[in-house]
Symmetry: C2
Subunit: 197 residues, 2 copies
């Protein structure tokens, strides 16, 4: 029904997460009103993702160099490593601007049910970094789920005997949320993690 180039762009938009048929059509038609320069830069940006994106050889973050900008930044404290599941998670913590250490991206969580073992997750490189940089603390910022807990326990275990403190970010009630809607396990964690006021 549409010209073939519109069908093609609809198909491409539909490949994106959360974009269904109707939204893809709306986005495709919006492109018709873009000026030529904006369409060129859109296309160029996709090609750049295709050709330039690599994973940082140190921490596993995405980068267009061998090392990512954070690993290259000599002003950052290499004694503390923040461990996250996905490269995108780094941006969440960078935006709140409270952490000046380094990161390590696991690229996944251990999940025996899905056949994902420790060897499928970027843990070996983490251990090497801890040894070579004399890391003092690693902060685990993984989601509190069965996979997240399993991964945290595994990391804790393989680091036993090494002189590194292993912490995890707090599990509890998010700001602004009514306690009524919080599940039992989170409440239990929140109670365990209570603090003096």
């Amino acid at each position: 029904m549409f010209p073939s180039c519109i069908n093609d762009i609809i198909e491409s938009f539909k490949d994106l997460p959360g974009i269904g048929e109707k939204t893809a059509e709306r986005l495709a038609f919006s492109l018709i009103n873009f000026d030529k320069d904006r369409l060129t830069s859109f296309s160029d940006a996709i090609i750049a993702v295709r050709d330039k994106i690599k994973y940082c050889s140190v921490c596993g973050n995405i980068t267009d160099n061998d090392k990512c900008s954070i690993c290259n930044d000599t002003n950052r404290n290499s004694k503390i490593i923040f461990v996250v599941e996905k490269a995108k998670d780094i941006s969440l913590f960078e935006k709140i601007n409270v952490f000046n250490g380094r990161y390590h991206v696991l690229g996944g969580l251990i999940s025996p049910l899905d056949g994902i073992g420790p060897e499928d997750v970027n843990i070996d490189n983490l251990i090497k970094r801890i040894d070579s940089d004399n890391v003092e603390e690693i902060i685990l910022a993984l989601k509190p789920s069965i996979e997240g807990e399993t991964t945290m326990q595994y990391i804790k275990k393989v680091l036993e005997g090494k002189n590194v403190k292993v912490t995890r970010i707090a599990t509890g009630i998010p700001m602004g949320t009514d306690i009524e809607y919080i599940d039992a396990m989170t409440l239990e964690f929140a109670l365990e993690g209570r603090k003096d006021i």
Copy 2:
């Protein structure tokens, strides 16, 4: 914070309607997991929109030829013209597969408050088509708003004296909607448009 090519693609996604900062970031990161071929076809599709999309010289629909596929289809009845605001509206009616006439895209609605007069809307070509094709009926499928009503009244007026029937699609209560939530003007139209059962 992100590699520059990721920032570029985030900016491009943010140009799309309904895509904010967070969604743009999520879409950009999803591209990293696309294989190279899919990224190439995505980029190619955008370039095709840039270079190939034109407006049909007859009806104003989008096309990659001089005339759109509907105007080129000799099996369609050229005595009835369905008048829509946007090229995209055509697909809505084509999908329900009940209309075998031709279309005409106005490309906008008359809106004196926004400085959009009849000369800014593709009405002259509509009149020429009515004359040259001996059109018997035009069906106005414009949205029932002040601009839509103004445009419909204007078209009705300029066609006075010509031997063409001018109709509009019904305004009323959408299927499945509780009457309680319908505005007064729609109710009035629905009452006026009542039919024997």
